[in-house]
């Protein structure tokens, strides 16, 4: 598979799987305002997914449209990072996952705005406002939960400690990522990681949360299609109708 197509699918898969997970909260959030905000983030990510998939499909030239890409690949063909497929857990888990992702996503998308590929730069430009809002929102919530009650602090710290090992995969560049750096598309890993650590560190300080060791062991594999056991269940549910009624138009 072409490196650029692969990279675009990674971007789309991250957004789709997180959007799918967030949509499970529909009608079940801890407050009406959260329901709305989370659905909003889910919708934004879904919109971004469609843009990345559309471009990937065009570049690939094999006639795959967004739905073919979303609904007709099995787990090993998905390229999202492991972080995104981790279960929703409680709201602190969901928001911590979101904050880790949003921080990386913001700096990435900001970097992609200057990509040597105009289409990618355009999509990034279009997403930047959304992604900026996501980052502000999740950072703000982490601060309020971390520095809120004793209960919320404990839950958020537990979520941070739990999810930390999934936070590093985005910076573990393989040949595909590196090819994108070399092509003037993706920002380099260390640059993103430095920004990420700085921002997470600042927010955690304000949130009175302890930051785990940056050099802790990090899980990886998702980008290369080696996932956790969660993804299969997510896909079985998400893809049911397309699989059960092949060839139907909806």
């Amino acid at each position: 598979m072409d490196d650029k197509v692969n990279y675009l699918l990674r971007l789309g898969d991250n957004a789709l799987i997180l959007s799918q997970q967030l949509s499970q909260w529909c009608g079940k959030g801890p407050a009406l305002e959260e329901d709305m905000a989370l659905t909003n983030v889910s919708l934004d990510l879904l919109g971004q997914t469609r843009l990345w998939y559309e471009y990937a499909g065009e570049l690939e030239g094999a006639g795959r449209d967004e739905d073919k890409i979303a609904f007709h690949r099995d787990a090993h063909e998905f390229k999202n990072c492991l972080l995104l497929e981790q279960p929703n857990g409680n709201y602190a888990d969901t928001m911590t996952r979101q904050f880790f992702f949003d921080t990386w996503h913001y700096f990435l998308v900001r970097g992609l705005c200057g990509a040597a590929d105009q289409r990618i730069a355009d999509i990034a430009e279009k997403s930047l406002k959304e992604v900026t809002y996501h980052l502000r929102r999740s950072g703000d919530l982490i601060v309020r939960l971390g520095d809120g009650s004793a209960v919320s602090h404990a839950k958020t710290q537990a979520a941070v400690d739990d999810l930390w090992m999934y936070s590093g995969e985005v910076f573990a560049y393989d040949a595909v990522d590196q090819a994108m750096v070399d092509a003037g598309i993706a920002p380099p890993a260390d640059e993103l990681r430095a920004h990420w650590l700085e921002h997470v560190g600042e927010i955690f300080a304000e949130a009175t949360l302890a930051m785990p060791a940056p050099d802790a062991w990090m899980q990886k594999g998702g980008k290369q299609g080696v996932h956790s056991e969660h993804l299969g269940y997510i896909l079985a549910e998400m893809q049911f109708l397309q699989r059960a009624y092949p060839g139907a138009e909806w």
Binding site: C26, L32, D35, S42, L43, R144, G148, V151, L241, W250
Partner: protein
């Protein structure tokens, strides 16, 4: 008393009542009940649709459904706010919902069993809701009427999107067409019941009509829904599950069969397929969210203390 007469005169003159205005206690109570019931319906109504959002068959349909569910949360917000202008808190209203004291629309006690139900709910349930709600845009209580104007505008999108789903299915494979017909079969009668019992049976109607918080009778609105929907069903090539349905050329209306009100009463009593689950899901969401809401308060308190210091 004189206040009541002046109040009624304002209503008769088409002047809106606002939150700060004097109003009879019964008017306030009736409105709180009606608005909060409507708000609860928006919130509980997210669940049957949320049941298919993770399984929507295309990314576009998923996106439309997500946006719809988000709108419903928004409607809930406007309506709770409108109710709050009458001097009741959202938490109190939610407590009444969770204890089973307050009602929400019985239609949401039916399960969503296939993707076609996302179409049928938009088309029939939102369709009926709009018919119910459009007159309320002109109701006497200002905050309520303004909330309904916003709600109705969005609901008409939802109804059209629902019809669009039905259209795709009706034009689709034989399985899809059967799915659409099955959904119509299951949602038709509950949708007619959404307008409530025949007015002959309804106790509070006369007073509410006088106050202009009920502008048409249940039967009038129901007839409007049938007249609007039957030709749409025909256009889809689907069969309305009512052997007695026929067009009366003289009146220009469709005549329809007798509604099984015992089913309505039974669902209202708590025996619908999903009453227990719907309420349980909401109560669980609220209870699970308590620590979160408390945390936001704790943080705000700390911030306030820091500023004061």
């Amino acid at each position: 008393g004189a206040e009541e007469r002046a109040f009624q005169a304002r209503i008769d003159a088409g002047v809106k009542i606002e939150a700060k205005d004097w109003m009879p206690e019964a008017y306030r109570k009736t409105l709180i009940r009606q608005i909060s019931q409507h708000a609860h319906s928006e919130i509980v109504g997210q669940l049957p649709e949320g049941n298919w959002v993770t399984r929507a068959p295309t990314l576009k349909r998923k996106s439309i459904l997500l946006a719809k569910i988000q709108d419903e949360a928004g409607h809930g917000l406007y309506l709770y706010s409108a109710a709050e202008t009458l001097g009741v808190s959202r938490d109190d209203l939610l407590a009444a919902l969770h204890s089973g004291k307050a009602k929400y629309s019985s239609i949401f006690n039916y399960p969503t069993l296939s993707w076609a139900d996302m179409g049928a709910i938009g088309w029939l349930v939102d369709g009926s809701a709009i018919i119910n709600q459009i007159p309320l845009c002109r109701c006497s209580y200002g905050p309520y009427s303004r909330a309904m104007i916003r709600v109705c505008k969005e609901e008409s999108f939802h109804a059209r999107q629902g019809y669009d789903i039905m259209m795709s299915l009706a034009k689709g494979t034989p399985e899809q067409k059967a799915m659409a017909q099955d959904a119509l079969n299951r949602w038709w009668w509950p949708s007619l019941m959404m307008f409530g019992p025949s007015d002959a049976e309804s106790v509070n109607s006369a007073q509410s009509a006088q106050w202009r918080i009920k502008l048409f009778s249940n039967d009038e609105l129901r007839q409007r829904m049938v007249d609007q929907t039957v030709p749409q069903a025909e256009y889809l090539g689907l069969t309305v599950p009512d052997p007695d349905l026929k067009f009366n050329a003289e009146t220009g209306h469709y005549e329809f069969g007798a509604i099984d009100w015992s089913e309505f009463q039974n669902v209202l009593k708590g025996n619908g397929p999903c009453n227990r689950e719907r309420l349980r899901t909401r109560v669980k969401a609220y209870d699970d969210g308590e620590w979160f809401r408390d945390a936001l308060v704790a943080y705000a308190d700390k911030q306030a203390a820091r500023k004061a210091a």
